[in-house]
Symmetry: C2
Subunit: 197 residues, 2 copies
DNA sequence: CAAATAAGAAACTTCAAGTATCTTATTTGG
DNA sequence: CCAAATAAGATACTTGAAGTTTCTTATTTG
């Protein structure tokens, strides 16, 4: 028997970037459906409708392949940072956004990668382009202009504190944060430190 | 040729708890010297001077074995919580203690376990007996008595905040925190939130 | 001291990583 | 347009580690 997919493969043999994109997509689907530890080179090759040799021509090993598949999809700096008119809602929005975007799948993959590549710290996967926080810079700048926050309060620590606590929560529990947790971080920790009084 | 160790094994065949303790010690040494991903059942058996069958009689798989080896050694609640006479030094002491005790080896193992046992969150390994902070409770109680902190300031979040930030740092970088980092957590985040003003 | 129990040795099965070889589709350059 | 180069795809292979099985033998226990 020959399925239509098999026929596609016979007719159109993909190459180069097109093939590569299909493979990386297959990796992401495997990660989502079966997790890092159940992802095998064979399962990826089969899902992508290609063969293992093709994978090894592009990536040196499984870790590199997975890394390639998730690196593309890491941080997405919003061009338009939403403006709610007050710092509280702005920061809550940032933390809510961290719940999105298959964070759990990514973290599972990161843990596998860190365990496998003993030397690389988690940070090198989570912050592939260095640890910045452009979004928080913008939000705080606006808050300073509004008069909610004084300029001296804007320190490096205050750029990362809410997302650090949120990430800690996500890493520990591998589940989206509740609204209560988000509110607690913002209202009990962050705002008392940065708002003028 | 027969080494003295081989002869020991022939003469004294260990059993029960004694043998089990030797195996778990071997696991910890393998984790320390070679890391989770290079720890194999054979390497553990060889180091412990026993055989793989003995391991499988006691633990269902590699993950259970490693779990058994690190569970024993998890949190050690200090009976004597040191009193420096001020909250700042007390909390710095708590964070400094988190640098100790092969935290990096443990984290590497935790990551491997989480990746392998897809369902268990990191928290279940890091807080095997639930998330409490007896030490911080004691320190804050003393600070309240001293008048440094008001009783209402002692909330659940304030019991965990410094160690949460420290753990986040340790998890990300897999390296001991610098004194600067410790001081920053305590002076720029924690004390401004809890000290009376 | 005999029977039961558990340790240890070693061979085996299974599965996945990674390699090698060969055929064939597609591209490219003359 | 065709021949040569290139890369895809199939398949078989090697290696290493998890986990199993079987057998022998040391140690305990009654």
């Amino acid at each position: 028997m020959s399925t239509s997919q098999e026929q596609d493969q016979l007719k159109n043999r993909r190459r180069g970037k097109e093939l590569e994109a299909a493979i990386l997509q297959a990796v992401r689907e495997e990660l989502t459906e079966r997790g890092y530890s159940n992802l095998t080179m064979d399962s990826v090759a089969e899902r992508a409708g290609t063969s293992k040799a093709v994978l090894y021509r592009r990536w040196a090993n499984r870790a590199e392949l997975v890394l390639g598949a998730i690196r593309e999809r890491v941080p997405l700096p919003l061009e338009e940072v939403p403006d709610n008119g007050n710092l509280r809602d702005d920061v809550c929005g940032v933390l809510r956004a961290m719940n999105q975007n298959n964070i759990q799948v990514m973290l599972n993959a990161f843990y596998g990668l860190v365990a496998e590549m003993g030397d690389m710290p988690l940070a090198s996967f989570i912050f592939p382009h260095g640890r910045q926080n452009r979004t928080m810079s913008i939000l705080l700048e606006r808050a300073v202009e509004r008069g909610e926050v004084s300029a001296e309060a804007v320190t490096p620590r205050m750029l990362t504190l809410p997302s650090d606590l949120a990430r800690h929560e996500l890493m520990l529990y591998n589940a989206p944060m509740s609204e209560e947790t988000i509110a607690n971080i913002v209202d009990e920790v962050y705002l008392p430190l940065v708002l003028k009084r």
